[in-house]
């Protein structure tokens, strides 16, 4: 009798679990059905051929499988998209927004979140979210110190790496103080992108993380810290290194990609990027010589995650969610991680995947200039996003001629 009851209980329990899972898949199925025929305007930075080609590939797949048209709107600066959505809110447009999907993180995300410009939360409903392990990759739920709250879905990982040409430089500098020595030895041939360029500011944050005596303060909002005390080692360092830089530190290249042709020509000796596979793909596209390699500083470099979000007034939220779900799938993520395609590291944790899915990733080539995950080491956490504006303002005040 008791066994029968227990068996019944077990049975009902498992049926309940099944029907719950069923309910989840049916609602997801409803989303997929509703998404069919929608056009999703995907506003994503369009400055890189490899990335554009990848998005084209994804658009074809999404069209084939789900009947959704994914239009890549190539933007030169994501913040201009943020201001457009803001302008739409200003004009009182609550639906039929011009943006359905946006590639975003950091300050832009914080700005959209705090101004109520985002749709959601939606991330946990996505079937592909299973592949993500926030324990292992905390940056997938904490975007520059800002809780994601399900308003944006992680898409790819980034870590600051430096690029050099092994034919010209024997031993690249391994930390901030060696970099200063390096700049002294090679006067005028080191530089960094002009803040507030993303990589330029990241470089400042990297130096700050290495130089400051109070690293703990960086993880909290800047308003809670003694800005002068925390940052003074950085300014001392910059005051010393700037006269040794390219153009005497009076002007800087516009962004990190502008460094690539300069590195190629030998005008500068070191370049930097947030995509560990960038150098390999630049070799493949003829922009850099085969002899370039990447390296990281000995105490690690800053890393973060980039995300996908949906604006509050999108008319194609179903289509956008289905597109995001595809972009997070092991298949799309593995294709993206391929250095011949884009080489963007995946947000998925191998422990969450089955063996077949894992194999997609383990069989990928590494690329001639890409560091192995071991050599890349553990990423340093990004300072809280409020540090960005404060650092940029302080930098401008000091170094704008």
């Amino acid at each position: 009798m008791t066994t029968a009851v227990m068996a019944m209980a077990l049975l009902t329990h498992s049926t309940a679990a099944i029907s719950q899972a069923e309910a989840k898949t049916t609602t997801w199925q409803q989303t997929v059905d509703k998404a069919k025929g929608q056009t999703v305007y995907f506003n994503a930075w369009g400055g890189s051929e490899q990335i554009n080609d990848y998005i084209d590939w994804a658009a074809e797949q999404i069209d084939e499988r789900y009947g959704i048209t994914l239009e890549h709107v190539k933007v030169s600066d994501t913040s201009s998209v943020v201001s457009r959505v803001l302008a739409e809110k200003m004009a009182g447009r609550k639906d039929r927004g011009t943006v359905d999907l946006i590639w975003i993180n950091g300050e832009n995300f914080r700005s959209m979140k705090h101004n109520g410009l985002l749709y959601g939360p939606f991330v946990r409903e996505l079937p592909s979210f299973q592949g993500i392990d926030p324990q292992q990759n905390p940056t997938t739920i904490l975007d520059f110190g800002e809780p994601v709250d399900g308003l944006e879905a992680p898409w790819g990982m980034a870590q600051l790496v430096f690029i050099y040409d092994t034919e010209i430089v024997n031993k690249p500098p391994a930390n901030a103080s060696e970099l200063l020595e390096f700049a002294r030895k090679h006067k005028g041939r080191v530089t960094y992108p002009l803040p507030p360029d993303f990589i330029g500011t990241t470089f400042l944050k990297q130096l700050l993380s290495e130089l400051t005596t109070e690293p703990g303060a960086l993880l909290k909002p800047v308003s809670e810290a003694d800005f002068e005390a925390v940052t003074s080692p950085l300014w001392r360092y910059l005051d010393e290194i700037h006269p040794l830089l390219w153009r005497g530190g009076e002007t800087f290249p516009a962004n990190n990609l502008a460094l690539t042709p300069m590195l190629d020509d030998g005008e500068i000796l070191l370049s930097m990027t947030f995509n560990p596979a960038y150098a390999s793909s630049a070799i493949a596209s003829g922009e850099l010589p085969k002899t370039v390699k990447t390296y990281v500083h000995d105490k690690g470099t800053l890393g973060n995650t980039h995300f996908l979000a949906i604006p509050f007034n999108s008319n194609a939220t179903e289509g956008a969610r289905v597109a995001i779900n595809f972009l997070l799938s092991p298949e799309a993520q593995a294709h993206k991680a391929n250095p011949d395609v884009w080489g963007d590291p995946t947000v998925l944790s191998m422990s969450q995947l089955n063996s077949l899915e894992r194999k997609r990733f383990s069989s990928l080539p590494l690329g001639p200039a890409t560091l192995s995950p071991e050599a890349l080491g553990k990423a340093l956490s990004e300072p809280h996003s409020s540090w960005v504006a404060a650092l940029e303002e302080a930098w401008k005040t000091r170094y704008r001629q």
Binding site: N43, V75, R84, T98, P196, E250, T251, P261, R400
Partner: protein, 542 residues
């Protein structure tokens, strides 16, 4: 204008205040940015004016003049972003020039030159002069035909004036008032230009217009207020500079009155005039080299400094071609729509003016003054100030993101150029042609279509080509009106700047350059040849 005074309800800024102005004044390097904008705009305008005048003085009435005229159209047609890239490829430390020198001197690495994006803005000024001097020559040429130049020159030389002095003392004082407005548009353009300042202008700090764009694009939305007050300040800056120019004109007029009438025949060295011609030729060379550099880079695979000879490849074209058909189609459709409408409106306005003038001379004169004055408004107001407001309007109407909206906004900038380029020919049209036609056909419309348009066919074709070129070059209006959904060759090209890939920049720059050239070639063809009896025949009046 409201956001400039801290009023932007959506963001929770719903009280009026002067805080954005306070913050604007606290911006690091504000004075340097404003000075930089002033310096580049005033210097480039003055240099262009000097150059244009010098070229006209030296070459007017000589065979050289025809050569100058031949070069005007391509110079004015080339989109300035492509030109900026081309010239940067020539002048930069690893550019063509440095490679040539390196071949002799034996440099291994590019020199630490500040030849592009220099903090003084010299490269920006140079580029602006290349862009503006031909425009001023064009406007001067259009005005000068209304002056009795040949008679004046003959009179001058019979009185013993050197020809340069005659130009300066007798012709210039009549000519300048006629080109005053074009000069002001050049001033306004060079203060508010963004795209070429991004490519070739100083970066730290940038010019003020670039700073405003950066504020507009800043993720910290409170900076939109800063951008709003900044764009109002930019407008004030334009007004101030134009005012200062007017004042300087007036002062110069006063001061030189004595000199103008003192009867000195002068020892005005022709050296200066030939210098202007040399400078003109140097600019032409730079222009051609820039185009050449784009062509080379578009076929490059690997080309490290200091090698003179690249590894050639077609890969950039192959890769770019697939993604290019849509922007090219968009540019064509938008450009043609805007240009054709602009020319129809211009012709109607000019006809109305003519009509009014026949009825009542003074009222007609007044009307034509008002219309041509109104035409200058879109050219004088800084695009940034203007478009910030337009964007909000478009959003309220829900009209952004459609190609027709983009074409409509282009129309605003195309129309003035078409109207102004047609004004001269329309004024010089000999009405007796139409009288004859009217007598023969009895129909006003038939006379207009068959006689007047026939006579004015060539300027009309030229105006179509010019309008198309203007439309192709528009960057900010396209960006603001299209919500990023309508891509043109120009938005793609400027978007690629971010990527820094010289090969792709070469491809897009060339395509961007080629489109207006094709338009000019077609206009040239259409103005000389026509279909008659099913065969292509040479037009009668060409």
């Amino acid at each position: 204008m409201l956001p400039a005074f801290s009023y932007m309800p959506v963001l929770g800024f719903d009280t009026f205040s002067l805080t954005p102005w306070q913050r604007l004044l606290d911006t690091p390097g504000l004075a340097e940015m404003l000075l930089l904008s002033l310096k580049t705009s005033i210097l480039s305008t003055l240099l262009s004016l000097l150059l244009a005048f010098g070229v006209i003085c030296f070459s007017w009435g000589t065979p050289l003049w025809y050569k100058v005229q031949h070069w005007l159209s391509p110079l004015m047609a080339v989109p300035h972003v492509a030109l900026a890239f081309g010239i940067a490829f020539v002048l930069m430390p690893s550019g063509l020039l440095a490679r040539l020198i390196a071949a002799f001197v034996g440099w291994d690495y590019p020199p630490d030159w500040q030849t592009v994006q220099d903090p003084y803005g010299i490269s920006l000024i140079l580029l602006l002069v290349i862009k503006e001097a031909p425009f001023l020559v064009f406007m001067m040429a259009a005005s000068i035909v209304q002056l009795p130049v040949a008679d004046t020159l003959r009179l001058g030389s019979s009185l013993g004036f050197q020809s340069g002095v005659t130009w300066l003392k007798l012709i210039w004082p009549q000519l300048y008032p006629m080109i005053r407005l074009p000069v002001y548009t050049v001033l306004a353009f060079s203060i508010s230009v963004v795209d070429i300042a991004l490519v070739i202008g100083p970066a730290n700090p940038p010019t003020f217009a670039v700073q405003i764009l950066q504020w507009i694009q800043d993720p910290n939305l409170a900076n939109s207020l800063l951008a709003a007050s900044g764009s109002v300040l930019l407008l004030l800056l334009v007004v101030a500079v134009v005012g200062a120019f007017y004042l300087a004109e007036w002062l110069l007029n006063k001061l030189t009155r004595n000199w103008l009438t003192n009867g000195h025949r002068g020892r005005f060295s022709s050296f200066w005039l030939s210098l202007a011609t040399k400078a003109w030729q140097a600019l032409l060379m730079l222009f051609l080299c820039g185009g050449g550099a784009l062509l080379i880079w578009s076929f490059v695979w690997r080309w490290r400094f200091p090698s003179l000879w690249p590894d050639w490849s077609l890969r950039s074209w192959e890769r770019a071609w697939g993604g290019m058909s849509e922007p090219i189609a968009n540019s064509l459709v938008i450009g043609l729509t805007a240009t054709i409408i602009a020319n129809i409106i211009s012709v109607i306005l000019l006809e109305l003016n003519d009509h009014q003038r026949q009825k009542n001379e003074s009222a007609g004169r007044w009307l034509s003054l008002v219309t041509s004055g109104a035409m200058y408004i879109p050219l004088l107001v800084p695009q940034m100030t203007f478009l910030f407001g337009v964007q909000i309007l478009l959003l309220q109407w829900g009209a952004e993101g459609h190609w027709l909206t983009v074409a409509g906004l282009h129309l605003l900038f195309v129309l003035p150029y078409c109207f102004l380029s047609l004004t001269g020919p329309w004024q010089h049209y000999d009405r007796r042609h139409s009288h004859q036609g009217l007598l023969l056909s009895g129909s006003w419309l038939r006379t207009f279509l068959q006689v007047k348009l026939g006579v004015l066919w060539r300027p009309l074709m030229a105006s179509l080509a010019l309008g198309f070129a203007v439309s192709i070059a528009q960057y900010l209006p396209t960006l603001f009106a299209s919500a990023g959904r309508v891509t043109t060759v120009t938005t793609e090209a400027v978007g690629l700047v971010a990527g820094g890939n010289r090969r792709l920049i070469g491809v897009y720059g060339l395509v961007q350059m080629a489109m207006p050239f094709i338009a000019y070639a077609m206009a040239f063809f259409l103005s000389h040849w026509t279909l008659g009896n099913g065969r292509i025949v040479r037009r009668l009046n060409s």
